[in-house]
Symmetry: C2
Subunit: 309 residues, 2 copies
């Protein structure tokens, strides 16, 4: 089966109306909405590295879209469309059916169209998705805008995906396989949050990216971390390891001035939000547990202080 047939069979559904020309030409065509900036990102999933090779193909399809929509959400933007670059060892119709279904399920949930891409043969299963979205001009939320005094917030719960990776029979495994991009919250934060990032590499590391880009530091309160019951039941060092250094949560971490947080609540966004710390001028990340300074030994965590010189 040639590339063209794979695309026709599995990846050629009609686009939503905002797409002028989708799959099937040299390129796709989109008319920009008025007064909007284009937001665009690309993320790759490699079999055996980002997911076990025997992962349900439906989950792989879902996740390949979700992790990219999460990057769009982290800018405060509304996602519109994706391109898929799919490199496959062989043509496995069972796999392709499940994968394409998972991909479209995630697209449909967030009103996103698949508008193009490329299918190639490769010795190793690799998926690169490019996602596009739009945001009001000047309203995108960068990593670099955090200011001393901002509250540090995170959506949902953290550490669930890492727990699911460690205990694959637990219900939290679903959080690893089917992450929820926080698209509604991301858009609600546009013009309100000073800085934002999605939590893909672990909360401590990703918050570190905000602090580095913004030339600030933070006090983080370990006792305020939003944790699922399964994580709450663990010893402190274990729960902190998962919550701070576990990746793949795809929650949003953002900094916001206190009055803007009240404004956000008035916007009736349903996503749970927890205040976990505060931004400070001193360029270091300090941890506290019930107001007491806490030294942490996190595996797989690149210390913020060491990377900033």
């Amino acid at each position: 089966m040639a590339e063209f047939s794979i695309i026709d069979t599995y990846f050629n559904r009609p686009s939503y109306s905002s797409v002028d020309l989708g799959v099937g030409d040299d390129s796709a065509l989109l008319t920009p909405p008025p007064q909007q900036q284009l937001v665009i990102c690309a993320d790759t999933l490699v079999a055996g590295r980002h997911f076990p090779i025997d992962t349900d193909p439906h989950a792989i399809g879902w996740k390949s879209v979700a992790v990219n929509l999460s990057d769009i959400a982290a800018m405060g933007a509304k996602p519109q469309s994706i391109l898929l670059a799919l490199s496959l060892p062989q043509i496995d119709h069972h796999w392709l059916k499940g994968f394409s279904q998972g991909l479209y399920d995630c697209c449909d949930q967030f009103g996103v169209s698949l508008i193009g891409g490329d299918t190639t043969q490769s010795p190793h299963l690799t998926l690169s998705v490019t996602a596009l979205g739009w945001v009001d001009i000047g309203k995108a939320v960068p990593r670099s805008g955090a200011q001393a005094g901002d509250l540090i917030c995170v959506s949902g719960t953290v550490g669930d995906a890492a727990f699911g990776l460690k205990y694959p029979d637990h219900a939290l495994k679903k959080r690893l396989d089917y992450p929820t991009p926080r698209c509604e919250l991301g858009q609600a934060l546009k013009g309100l949050a000073h800085s934002m990032i999605d939590v893909s590499d672990g909360l401590a590391q990703d918050l570190g990216h905000i602090l580095k880009a913004s030339h600030v530091g933070a006090d983080l309160h370990l006792d305020q971390l939003p944790l699922s019951p399964a994580l709450q039941a663990l010893p402190n060092q274990q729960k902190w390891q998962l919550a701070l250094a576990g990746g793949d949560d795809y929650e949003l971490c953002f900094t916001i001035p206190s009055p803007a947080l009240d404004e956000l609540k008035a916007r009736h966004c349903d996503t749970p939000i927890t205040v976990i710390g505060v931004v400070k001028e001193t360029q270091q990340l300090d941890f506290y547990h019930h107001q007491q300074p806490q030294e942490l030994e996190l595996q797989g965590y690149q210390h913020f202080a060491k990377t900033t010189n």
Copy 2:
């Protein structure tokens, strides 16, 4: 070396001025030029399949950009920026230096910025590039606009890349490793050509995509094919095999009414153009040699008639 360091070291040059936010945040930001449609595509290169694994990394970098700019050109659009999804078996600084230099050399030649992407570890070297461009609203040239009576044209010479693959010591190998995206010609054809495609899979197959999408057929004159001297010297069947079924030329094939071709010549585009045939209503692709019908046995060529039913 972590992903962040690879990006900082090799892929963090300043963008051209049209980019609002480039490498280093969750997503990149672009402000659309007024009255333009966004044109976007993605193409993947897999080591061992799209290039020999020991190809000069500089050539790999160049080609990974060039093949995508070619897709933008084939819409009649002006390329603006790219995203790179790079999956690498190991961190090889010699390779990364050459690759990034080749990538930026192609970007610089066509005024294109690298604005984002993703670097991951993978057992197999795989590169996916997404390219973005802009075109006046309604002026993009699709595959589907060919009309009976249109002249069929192709830029440059065809079959060179396939010749270079077969005879890697010949100077034409450069055409395989360093394809030239026909960006100037593509833009000159906007609003003039009825249909266009870039020749990546072989002229016969790619012209077939135009004919299928446009519900028309064509007469193609083998004696009019633009060939380099090395190909002209070959027996007919060999030269036709390379020119019609050899891929990787990245020339533009387009159909255009005769008066518009005169108009194109008045636009002083320097790229050589050759008329090789004419579009007809009957939905089949027929070959002629000095006015005589010619049966062809092309290896690796999916017959147009068989794929259209």
